[in-house]
């Protein structure tokens, strides 16, 4: 008989029963609705063991890669260790290795995890300054290139409990805790020929920069277009690095966009909103993979534009930044 392990309990599955039925049957509450493998509300994650293919049908490839499955469709043939879809792991100790101020209010922060920390570039973590205050930031680094060194891009929000502290008090050597990773917006090397379009504003560049470098490192062959939007040039941080990357990688193109006219000469900067640039320049998005990062409203708008321009929903990966209202 097959056994599932959940929350330190070992529960055997009766023949013909799904994981969901089994858990509900012993009084464990798992959100669920259609019980037909459609609504995805009963999604769980396998930590150990092989999930049957049928239990992953219809899930986004980035969810499949993290062993998420639909518990109502899961009739395992082998033992499984499983947990709820959103899992709070205790976090890893880390310390600040370097703080690099890019523009007056944006810094690249490099944090070294004291142990192994596995993630996909583009996912996000919770960064804890102590046991009370944490904020989410996206990962711009690539494990294959940077090991345990995590790169975050942080905008200084005056009065923000974490960013104020990072900009004014934290220093090299300061200890922090890193928890996660979470998020489904990352590169999957399933089709190296597919064109990629990555679009974001502000520090939405962080996950996109991670995804671009990951794709290049994994030998992506299709075109990779990175669109970075900002109010004016002062927000186009990493401009030099990206121009440099463009000169080194033949299939990578950097499109810096600003709402205000560039001051001196344009240096390849186009004065246009990112929405209009996609509408006017991106053309048919059928069969392209799209990555969208930035404020929630923008991501929503861009997702709709890309979908209406032919992108398939399963090929749109998005990470919306949600501001903590309490700062």
């Amino acid at each position: 008989m097959t056994t599932i392990h959940f929350d330190d309990r070992a529960i055997s599955i009766e023949k013909g029963h799904s994981v969901l039925q089994t858990l509900l049957g012993v009084g464990i509450s798992i959100p669920n609705s259609c019980q037909s493998g459609v609504c995805q509300s009963c999604m769980m994650q396998a930590v150990k063991g092989k999930v049957p293919d049928k239990a992953q049908q219809g899930l986004k490839d980035t969810l499949q890669a993290q062993n998420y499955f639909l518990s109502c469709q899961c009739h395992p043939e082998h033992d499984l260790v499983i947990r709820k879809a959103v899992n709070e792991n205790p976090g890893v100790d880390a310390h600040i290795k370097e703080i690099e101020l890019c523009k007056k209010d944006i810094a690249r922060i490099f944090i070294e995890a004291d142990g192994d920390f596995s993630y996909h570039p583009g996912q996000y973590i919770s960064l804890w300054r102590d046991d009370k205050i944490a904020r989410s930031y996206s990962l711009a680094s690539v494990p294959a290139l940077h090991g345990n060194m995590l790169e975050l891009h942080i905008r200084h929000i005056p009065g923000g409990e974490l960013s104020d502290w990072l900009f004014n008090q934290a220093a090299v050597g300061t200890e922090v805790t890193v928890q996660g990773p979470l998020g489904n917006c990352f590169y999957m090397p399933d089709n190296l020929q597919q064109d990629l379009i990555l679009a974001g504003t502000g520090t939405g560049l962080a996950p996109l920069y991670g995804i671009v470098r990951d794709a290049v490192n994994q030998g992506h062959k299709g075109n990779i277009h990175l669109l970075h939007g900002s109010v004016d040039e002062s927000g186009l941080y990493l401009y030099e690095e990206l121009v440099q990357l463009q000169s080194e990688v033949a299939n990578f193109q950097y499109h810096p966009l600003t709402l205000k006219a560039p001051k001196v000469n344009n240096n390849g900067i186009t004065q246009i909103s990112i929405e209009n640039y996609i509408k006017n320049e991106a053309g048919d998005m059928k069969d392209k993979k799209i990555y969208l990062c930035g404020p929630e409203e923008l991501v929503k708008k861009l997702r709709k534009i890309c979908f209406l321009q032919g992108a398939s929903l399963k090929h749109i990966y998005a990470d919306a930044f949600i501001h903590n209202k309490s700062k």
Binding site: C34, Q35, S36, V38, C39, Q40, Q57, G58, K300, R303, K304, F307, L308, S312, L313
Partner: protein, 119 residues
């Protein structure tokens, strides 16, 4: 004798239909505003459940679910249901589904009209 769901291609057909159908709905001025504030991924999963139902596939959709899902929407009327069924027909034509099958699917969609409109 094969069922409607088998004839049109089962789950593969549903997957192919979701994007086309949803794109038509968003492009239709009569109904698109009802979809402005929804999460597109969640909505696509709901559309898949709806399409599975009208294609005669395995589902646990009930009239109560449909009433519950639509009761907070203001101003919903027959015009909007008509628009959805029209977009459904257009989607199926694009996918090359036979006219008889389209009629059968439209009839299933029509059968839940009163639930959607809470009548």
């Amino acid at each position: 004798m094969s069922t409607l769901y088998e004839r049109i291609g089962g789950e593969g057909a549903v997957d192919a239909a979701v994007d086309i159908f949803y794109r038509k709905v968003l492009g239709d001025d009569r109904i698109s505003s009802y979809f402005d504030d929804v999460d597109m991924e969640t909505q696509a999963a709901k559309q898949k459940a709806f399409l599975t139902m009208v294609f005669g596939g395995p589902n646990n959709y009930t009239g109560k679910d449909l009433r519950e899902a639509h009761k907070h929407m203001t101003g919903l009327s027959d015009i909007h249901v008509d628009a959805v069924i029209e977009n459904l027909g257009g989607t199926l034509q694009e996918l090359g589904v036979a006219d008889d099958d389209i009629a059968e699917i439209a009839a299933i969609a029509n059968s839940v009209r009163d639930d959607v409109l809470n009548r």
